[in-house]
Symmetry: C2
Subunit: 323 residues, 2 copies
C-alpha cells in the first residue's frame, strides 16, 4: 500500500521539508505539512504516519486519523499520547529521544554553574547597580552529582562535567545498566542511599508512573543542608511545595526548575517568589536549537526508510515503561 504522511508543526525549515519529502518520495509517498494539529485534523482521513509534537493537542491527530499506523513524536516526552484511550495499541509510537541531549545538557551545565556561583544573588545586586564580589562560591570541582536518568540527556550532561573534575558523578536508573560519563550507577531502589552524598541532585526523568512523585518531602529531607536541585524532566516527579519550603527555609541552597506541576505556572503560585530558585519556562529542550531540528529530521528519515523496508523502528516507545 502507499502511505500518506502528515508533518505537523512550524519549527522545520525548507531544507528539512525537502529532506522529508525526498525520503518519502523515494518510496512513492506524499507528505503534507500542517502548522498545528488543529490545522491538520480535517485532512487526516487517509493519513497513515504522523510526525509531530506529542503535546496536549496530539490526541486530536490520533482521533482524526483512523488509518494511523505510526505516530512519530518529535518530542522526547510522550505522556499525552499514553493517556488511556488515546493511541490504539496497534499504532507504533516513536519519540525524539537523542535529539535533545546536546541542548538540554548545555542548559544543565549553565544552571549548575549559575547555582554554584550564586548567580541569582549577583543578578539581583547588579539589577540595583550594586557592587560586591566577596560571596563565597562553589565549584563543579570536588562536588558530588547525583543524576536521576542516564539516557541521552543525563549521559551527555555527565560527559560535559568531565573536564571540570575531579567530581563524583553518580547515575541513577531503573536497571543499574552502565552509561557513558558516570563514575557509578545505582538502581532507583537505592536512591535513598546516594541522596545524602549529593551536592547537586539532577532530575532528567520522563513522566511515567514510575517517576511520579519520586522526590518526596521525605527524600528532600535526606539531602545535605547546602545541596542544590535541578529538574529538566517532568514536573510530576517532584513535590514542588516541599521544594519551595526547603528553599525558603534555607534547607536547600538553591534550585533550578525548567518543568513544573502546572505549566504555564499560575500567576499566584508561591514558586515565583521562592528563594534562590532559577525558573526557566520549559525552554531547556524545545526545537530552538538547529542541531535538534536537524537531528529530528535525520532520525525521522532514517525511521521512514526502516518503516518502508520492514525493519524495526529506532526510538520506539515501550508502552509498559512509558518511555
Amino acid at each position: 500500500m502507499t502511505h500518506k504522511i502528515a508533518v505537523v508543526g512550524t519549527a522545520f525549515e525548507a531544507h528539512h521539508r525537502e529532506k522529508i519529502t525526498g525520503t518519502a518520495g523515494a518510496f512513492g509517498c506524499a507528505v503534507d505539512f500542517y502548522p498545528s494539529h488543529m490545522d491538520a485534523a480535517s485532512h487526516l482521513q487517509d493519513t497513515t504516519i504522523v510526525f509531530g509534537p506529542s503535546d496536549a493537542h496530539s490526541p486530536k491527530s490520533v482521533a482524526a486519523a483512523p488509518k494511523l499506523q505510526w505516530f512519530a513524536s518529535f518530542y522526547a516526552g510522550v505522556d499525552p499520547l499514553l493517556a488511556p484511550g488515546v493511541l490504539p495499541e496497534n499504532v507504533l509510537l516513536t519519540n525524539g529521544s537523542g535529539a535533545y541531549g546536546v541542548t538540554i545538557a548545555e542548559h544543565l551545565v549553565m544552571a549548575t554553574l549559575m547555582l554554584l556561583r550564586r548567580n541569582p544573588e549577583y543578578h539581583q545586586l547588579v539589577d540595583q547597580k550594586g557592587w560586591r564580589n566577596d560571596l563565597k562560591i562553589r565549584s563543579i570541582y570536588g562536588s558530588t552529582f547525583v543524576i536521576c536518568g542516564t539516557g541521552d540527556i543525563g549521559s551527555k550532561y555527565a560527559q560535559r562535567l568531565r573536564p571540570f573534575c575531579p567530581a563524583k558523578v553518580i547515575g541513577v536508573n531503573r536497571t543499574g545498566r552502565s552509561a557513558e560519563g558516570f563514575d557509578e550507577i545505582v538502581t532507583i531502589e537505592n536512591l535513598d542511599s546516594v541522596l545524602p552524598q549529593a551536592d547537586m541532585l539532577v532530575l532528567t526523568l520522563p513522566g511515567t508512573p514510575l517517576t511520579n512523585n519520586l522526590i518526596t518531602r521525605e527524600r528532600l529531607a535526606l539531602m545535605q543542608e547546602n545541596a542544590f536541585l535541578i529538574n529538566i524532566g517532568r514536573g510530576n516527579c517532584l513535590d514542588q511545595e516541599a521544594l519551595v519550603e526547603a528553599l525558603n527555609t534555607g534547607k536547600l541552597a538553591g534550585a533550578a526548575l525548567d518543568v513544573f506541576r502546572q505549566e504555564p505556572i499560575p500567576q499566584e503560585d508561591p514558586i515565583w517568589e521562592a528563594k534562590n530558585l532559577i525558573i526557566t519556562p520549559h525552554c531547556s529542550g524545545q526545537m530552538t536549537l538547529a542541531y535538534t531540528r536537524d537531528t529530528l529530521v535525520d532520525m525521522f528519515c532514517e525511521n521512514l526508510t526502516r518503516f518502508f523496508t520492514d525493519q524495526p523502528l529506532l526510538h520506539a516507545i515501550d508502552r509498559a515503561l512509558a518511555y
Copy 2:
C-alpha cells in the same frame, strides 16, 4: 639572615595560616597576619616578604617595608605594583597565576551558555511571570571560539569546551606557542584574521601596555553581526563605549563583562542599560572558591621553600612583559 613575613588579607582560614606558619617556622621565620595593607603599614619596618593582594592599596605595603625582598601577590594581575615608582627593581615579584583557572573557567562556561541560550531575555520574561519558550538559541556545538590569552585561564576554559564539541577553538597569544585545549594558535599580530570567524570572542588578558586598547571600535567592526564577546581579564583592553554601541544597535548579539574601565561602574554609566549585556561585578575570580585559596597557599609555601633554599621562584613576573 632571618626573614619576617607579613600575610595581608582576610580570605585565609585557620588551616591556611597554620600551613604558612609551619612552612616559615621550619626555616626559623616568623609570620604576622594583618587584615589589610592599611593595618599592616605601621608594622612592616623589618618585613622582608609580603604575601598579599596586589590591589590599589598594595603600594602602601611596599612603601612601608624598606627591607622588602619579595612581594608575593595572591592576585594574578599585578598592574598596581608595576606602576612607575612603586616596586623597586630589586624586589622580587610573583603572582597567583595558576590558582584562578578553575574558578574563572567555570565563570566563562556559565557566561558562554547564558549568552548562547538568551538567558538575559528569559530572565526578564520570568521576572514578569511571563511564559514562552520558542526563542531560537545557539550552542557551543558547531561554534567558533577565539580566545585571547592562552594561559591557565584561557587553556582551562578551552579544555572545558571539549566535550561540547565539535567546536573550533582558536587561541591568540603573544608568541604563537601551543597550549592545551586549542585547535589552533595564532599570534596577536594575526588577531584581525581570526576575528571575523568568531561566534564568541573571549578576552582573558592581563592589564599590560601590550593589551591596552587591544579591542578597538575597528576590531569590533570586523566581527560577525551575530557574534558575542566576553571579557574577564582587565577593562583596559576593550573600547567599552564602542561595545555598548554595538550591543544597542544589534551589531553584536550579546556580551558578558566582568571587568570594566572603571570599577565599581559609575551609577550614571550607560553600560548598566546596554542591550543583551550580562554584567558581573569583577567576581569571576577573587578568592571566593576554596580551591583558589588552597592553591594560593600551596603555591606560596612551595615558593617560600624555594626562596629559603635559593631556587628560582615560580610564577615570577617578567617586568618587561608586565605579567
